[in-house]
Amino acid sequence: MDFNFQDPFTSIGELLRGLLLGWGLAPGLVSLILMLLGALVLAGFAMTLAGVFLTWLDRKLAARIQDRLGPNRVGPFGIFQPIADAIKLITKEDIIPEGAERAIFKLAPMLAVMSAVGIWAVVPFAPRLIGTDLNVGVLYIVAVGAIGTLSIMMGGMASNNKYAMLGAFRTVAQMVAYEIPMVIALLVPTMLAGTMGVGGIVEAQRGGWFIVLAPVATLLFFVSAMAEAGRAPFDLLEAESEIVAGYNVEYSGMKFGMFYVAEFLHGVTIAALTATLFLGGWLGPGAQQFPLLGLVYFAIKTAFVYLVISLIRFSMPRIRIDHLLAFNWKLLTPLALAAVIVTAIADKLAPALGWNRAVVHLTANILLAWATFEALRAYARGIRQRVEVQPAAVETGGAD
């Protein structure tokens, strides 16, 4: 069998399949083994990426932004620091607190990592390089994300600790709320592509990335997914200064390490999803002939979005819980609903009037954004007026 360097992944798959079939295994079993192998490679790659490279990058970046050096002792630029950290975590004593629900306590970190890695099963990394192109891929992403919420709740509840429980409470309030604008924002690429399959959504962006067609939905998805993952400025579920560390306060050793890796992986997953659903995924010049090039485009886009997430994370203060929920229910959710309606109307209007699809969508989105800003301005004006009236109320003893 000649090795096709333009499309190495398919070639490797075919090579392995031929080898296993040659050993006399049943075709069904061979498919199963190949799927398991693929999952193992993907999960291993994800763990190495998140556990080693990203933690280092994150700490270096944080250090630069906060005007310090960051890890710089182990290896060149301290790049082997995460390996030292991992060894430390593995050799640490693994404590299960007294009165904890043992089974649930042990299951929670596994589910956390599972929910982050599980999403990658439907992300197309390059043409023909996708775990499984589910026809309900977008819905699958939502479902697996819900398991992440569950894992954090299980960890917080099983720890038998008030702070862990408080972290879990906040998680539910935050994650269940932010899931709504995220799901509604996901409807927009689904509607534009006409399919819920992630591979189909990437293919549909050949004519133009969805960030051009639906900038409002892109921003909505990005913000609500960040809140869903509990990244700063939405990291209320593990606010160090308020509830020690939140849901994972009782976790030690590698169990804590798994929660930590899951959080990082969730950040990468958001970046990968934003890149796939709105920035064209692996699409780029020459990607169709050379799938490796598609992988490079995908990696560049994902890295760019991840960098933006990190920059936001290190430069924003934590948002207060009532502001967080008001922001979700009073701004993001209505805006997401409006974005869906506007997209639906624009999508029907463009072919009917014979105008350019992208222009119609972009104009509709700009109008929507303008209306939102006007509404916000009016709201802020209302608050300002009330604040200016307030001193008089204090003198008459009306306000608290």
Binding site: G28, L134, L139, V142
Partner: protein, 179 residues
């Protein structure tokens, strides 16, 4: 036995055991977690039936929303997490009778479906078409638009009811509002 049959028996067993634990476990919060396992087992059964959409919806709606809200409610109850009580009350035999009658009725009804007698024929249409058909059926005036809309109205009514119950009395509204 094929692999699918073994998997079916496995998932069916897990689902049944988990459902049994839901009603027998003394701690309320344990019952909630067993319920999640039972619901996940049903999702796995849907996957074995090649109903991917239903499986994913099962996870999103039942595990992602309903089960989490149940746990939340349990955690917020009086003696957080340690709420235990007797497993049966006086009318346990009524419940047993009703569930047995329901089970028997379902078995009788399913036994009369002709398609279930032999080995079912494999699906002729692909998943994408099935999904599209499901979507159209829900908004088609000749098919299920009325039950679909009725369910929407019911959910809407319960949502408004919940907001009404949770709202502070109208007098204290100004104090708890913008700050």
């Amino acid at each position: 036995m094929t692999l699918v049959q073994i998997l079916f028996l496995l998932f069916g067993l897990v689902t049944l055991l988990a459902s049994l634990m839901v009603v027998t476990s003394p701690k309320l919060v344990h019952a909630a977690f067993w319920l999640i396992l039972a619901l996940a087992g049903v999702a796995a059964l849907f996957i074995l039936l090649e109903a991917t959409f239903l499986a994913v919806v099962q996870v999103v709606v039942y595990i992602g929303a309903i089960a989490i809200l149940i746990i939340f409610a349990v955690m917020l109850t009086r003696r957080v997490m340690h709420d235990t009580g007797p497993q049966v009350n006086r009318s346990w035999w009524v419940a047993l009778l009703v569930s047995l009658v329901l089970f028997g009725g379902l078995v009788l009804m399913l036994a009369q479906v002709p398609a279930l007698a032999g080995t079912p024929a494999p699906l002729m249409v692909d998943q994408e078409t099935l999904l599209e058909d499901l979507g159209r059926a829900l908004v088609d005036a000749d098919r299920y638009v009325l039950p679909f809309e009725l369910a929407s109205v019911l959910l809407m009514a319960s949502m408004i009811g919940a907001i009404f119950v949770a709202r502070p009395p109208s007098g204290s509204e100004e104090r708890s509002g913008e700050r």
